[in-house]
Amino acid sequence: MSAFIWLTVITALRILGRNRLRAGLTMLGIVIGVAAVIAMVGIGEGAKRAVQAQIATMGTNVIIVFPGFTSASGVRGSQGTAITLTVSDALDLKKRVPLLVDTGWSRRDVMQIVNGNRNWNSPVNGVSPSYLTIRDWSFSSGGPFTQTDLDSAARVALIGQTIVDNLFDPGEEPVGAIIRLKNVPFRVIGVLSPKGQSAQGSDQDDVIFIPFTTAERKVFGTSFIGSVGAMFASTDQAEDLPVAVEQMREVLRARHRLQGEQADDFTIKTQVDIGRVQEGTSQTLTIMLFSIASVSLLVGGIGIMNILLVSVTERTKEIGVRMAVGAKRRHIVMQFLIEAMTLSLLGGALGIVLGVVGAKLTTIVAGWPTVISSDVIVVAFLFSLAVGLFFGLYPANKAARLNPIDALRYE
């Protein structure tokens, strides 16, 4: 039997080789289908990894609490407009929710930053030192400010790479320099390592951090001392996040004296929630990909079936001869199935090559990251095999059902 299969494969290849143009055109559907899938999955996977990497720049197992909205005569302000969250909320949460490793807080405002004769507008964040560790900020030079700086409302600043690029000459050392915020001089004590774009596309390096106390007393002119723009916390394990969130909600509701039916005056989000939104996007993409792939594989399969039906008619006499000299039904079925699978597998292989090249080209030309996993290649290969098998069955059976006498007489 193995000699039979081997010879049938060789025969199939020879027959296809004879009609190269026809075979090529027949395979085209599969080639395009598989290539599209490989390239698109590669691009999609690349995008997914990039988003995951961006989400990871937020820190590890981060929980963010935003204050609720204001409501004046039924007109609701945007989220975060209320001043319901305070520094003491954050400190209390740390005490009462043991799952939390630490809590931090921040308040931001966009303002002009001046260095000598240069200026730049950027979000200025007054933060607690713990914020920096929770959000995984590290330093390319200098270092963070401390609890002492917070307690004494020191005029020290940490600046992101984008700020360095815009306020300092190349080669000029920012650490130790004095910059001004609202005419208040600040000493730069650290430059933050670049994080790149956030998952939402904003520049995370266009940022400046100063101690929270300094910000509210000397820069922002806040009327409600102690109210924060956002609160941050983190847990050790990702699995602890849901429990920690629930406990935080209870503590905050108790602290804000919210009764049973009353809605939360804050919103808690975790890194996982933010990741889930992105995952949803990529899932939509994946579903679309699969529909495109199935349509083109279907069309490709129909092409194969069509050409095989032509082949069966063309070779009716040959089939008759084969039957006369002793080909059984299964021999004829096998012959045409192998031809179909040879076509679809060749098409699949070509499509894989084309898809990988296409993905690489996308990376080179458009600069999108692409990831080609071996799984996708294996699946594409199996899929083309299945297409050949499925769409070869009908023509193969048609051939095998021919009456040998009629087939021999066929002209």
Binding site: F4, E318, V321, A324, V325, G326
Partner: protein, 236 residues
Amino acid sequence: MNPLIECNDIWKIYRVGDMEVQALRGLSLTIEQGEFVAIMGSSGSGKSTLMNILGCLDQPTKGYYRLNGVEVENLRRDQLAEIRNQQIGFVFQSFNLIPRTSALENAQLPLFYRGLSLKEQRAKAAAALQRVGLSGREHHYPTQLSGGQQQRVAIARALVTAPSLLLADEPTGNLDTQSSREIMAILEGLNREGITVILVTHEVDVAAYAHREIVIKDGQVLTDRPTKTRTQTVGV
């Protein structure tokens, strides 16, 4: 020993629309091992139907046909294919070689369905080609061979399985006189080696190679007699 072929009262009835066509009408026939038989008859006589039945390509509607003692009429398609592969060699008027396939591979074809190793297939096919005088042309394609040579490839294909029965349906019908003689000489030689040869023809001088001549008419045996001694006819 059983006769090679034993047909008893076989009928073949086709239905074409409302019409009933009786191609064979109670035909009985016995052919012994090693015979050389010519079957003659005008077109529509039923001789093609008889050949199809003898070749196990078709089955009788009524009556029985025993090949080598095996009743054929109740066998399934694949079993018939097996019998054709094991016991019968076919030679057709139009050669029926597989196009764009070498002489060797054409001759290999029946062995292809026997599951022999490739090496065995090649060796046997080469020997068969040698037997019909085509050594050195193993790798020629049918289009590169003359009609006589193509028919010899077909004979090689028929005898590569060492069949007990060789069925030749107008084997010289498409050939010139010279090639016809060569083909008949080969068939004659094969018969002398013990292979039973049944020949369908309407050419008297071709039929004369046979030892026995059966004339079919209206689906029945009209005459069945030995031919004149061949020595008289050879060289006509």
